[in-house]
Symmetry: C2
């Protein structure tokens, strides 16, 4: 059996068997604190970015890559409930003929992200190799409370913290892969936001703060959540599966820019484009409404419901339909 | 300027400018604990292993590679004074035509190392790529006290925790790169120990415990140290440079197996073969003597002395000579 035939999800499922039960189910690992200490639990996350798979010189410069690599990791920290960033380590592989200026650019981008969101460069390692590659491990500390994929419940609203599909649109614009008739119809403002979303995504650590501010008085901390790095539909499916529910999505309320919605591929990119790095959350409705009022751009995506005979736990449905959507599970990196 | 022309040390020196001052000078980063907590400081370390640079199918199987990748990281934790291992994350890159059995083997080796030395698999990420690559980040906690490269002083003894050159000999045997007349002269026992040293190196976390046991009553915790992953000579030079001293080595007391010493390349491999993963320590002489009595295989390598007109800080000399040795700075991975 080759990795190609396994696929990414099955590979991750098999690798999870080497970790303590449940350890690899969330966006990042929450370390058990030492007994008797009041310190917030530490969270650790590792991401690998490979040239030709995750990035290319034609779509982003080295500082974009450094920023993006940091942002992808910090997004996983936010999706686990981190209120602060401790820092990150960098494993860098590059061929010997790589210019120093490229490496310096990557570190400039990483440093800018750390200055923006907190934390320090903690260390790393370098090696030669056939292909440029970055492995980032980020460390953070839980803020007001942990966020877990499995903490949603039937009746929760599904909310997301911002628009989706922009990063995928930005990639298409940078690759000049969009038909001229469609590309020319887009406003300069949207083009710029899409390219920015692709090159300089923003980890939503601010949404964790907003969650704490909007928590209804007296209600316990219970937040189901993940980030939308694998796509909005995949994020909703993760939360549904974790809660043993189905996710009913409101087709009239998709978090998509109207100009993007007018493109033939707009809805597909919104649901499965990936790498928007927003948070997708399952919250008790009062809390969800308070968050939507607190956090600009945050909107309701749908609702978690008990599974039915026609739709098993983990399924996605459009509101008003009984039939699960065809699987849209986002990227495969093999 | 290309990475090839910079070289590994200059590259690491330039990258250190992106971290807080001094942060990247040790084997691993010691995180500042939160104020008001009694928790032992956390230590984090990242290593990258690339096929064709650090490992090859001809010299080790996947479980050896997994063990070795974990051991190299845990060795850096030991060299920083860790008394316990929290766990590690794994970034794995492999071509799509890689067999699942290879990945499973790597994780078996990693898991065995964690069962042996403590800690858990905390998470990770996988991607396709042209070349097999492992990026491991290990987390540990300081035990009795921190060990730093710069904490040696003139008058300290240099000690090391075991023999050197075995891993390099093992590599030569596995590559069938040793002349038949020399290979045939080696005893089966030494051949086996050398191959084991290369494939299954042992991180010396036990030496940290022995350090605490042998600390003279009333003396403060002050331990200069590093591991010998870059070679014994490089380790001694690191400690000398960190202490602003020269390292005077006793040629009659090199930590080398007599059979290996009889080979023409034996002494070179002892000093610069690398990847023996022993600890090299700078200790006040009473403590050094107590450690040598406590820890089997531990021996005196030499002494730290003030620099002279002929030998600047960071130089290595043979005892009785005034002239620094020619530079033997170990590996370059570009």
């Amino acid at each position: 059996m080759l990795l190609r035939d396994l696929g990414e999800w099955e590979l991750l499922r098999r690798l999870a068997a080497y970790a303590p039960p449940g350890q690899l189910e969330d966006d990042a690992a929450i370390l058990q604190p030492d007994s008797g200490t009041a310190t917030a639990p530490l969270v650790v996350n590792t991401d690998v970015l490979v040239e030709g798979v995750h990035f290319s010189d034609t779509t982003m410069g080295p500082a974009d890559l450094g920023w993006r690599a940091a942002a992808a990791n910090l997004s996983d920290l936010a999706a686990t409930g981190c209120g602060s960033v401790v820092g990150l380590t960098v494993g860098l592989v590059a061929p010997a003929e790589t210019p120093w200026a490229w490496v310096a650019g990557v570190y400039e981008g990483l440093s800018l992200a750390l200055r923006t969101y907190g934390g320090q460069l903690l260390g790393g390692d370098c090696s030669g190799g056939l292909q440029r590659m970055l492995a980032i491990t980020a460390l953070g500390r839980i803020g007001p409370g942990a966020i877990r994929r499995g903490d949603g419940q039937a009746g929760d609203w599904l909310v997301c913290t911002g628009p989706h599909g922009l990063s995928r649109l930005g990639l298409a614009l940078l690759q000049q892969a969009l038909a001229a008739e469609h590309a020319d119809a887009l406003s300069p403002g949207l083009r710029q936001r899409a390219i920015e979303a692709h090159r300089r995504p923003k980890p939503r650590l601010d949404a964790v703060t907003a969650l704490a501010r909007s928590q209804p008085p007296g209600s316990p901390w219970r937040v189901g959540g993940t980030d939308s790095s694998d796509g909005l539909a995949a994020a909703a499916a993760h939360l549904a599966r974790g809660a043993g529910c189905i996710a009913e999505l409101d087709h009239n309320n998709l978090p998509i820019d109207p100009e993007l919605a007018a493109l033939p591929q707009g809805e597909r990119w919104c649901l499965a484009g990936g790498e928007d790095f927003e948070l997708v959350l399952a919250l008790e409705p009062t809390w969800a409404q308070a968050l939507i009022e607190t956090l600009p751009g945050c909107c309701q995506l749908g609702q978690l419901r008990p599974p039915t005979a026609a739709a098993a736990a983990g399924s996605l449905l459009w509101q008003g339909s009984n039939q699960p959507l065809e699987g849209s599970t986002g990227y495969s990196h093999f």
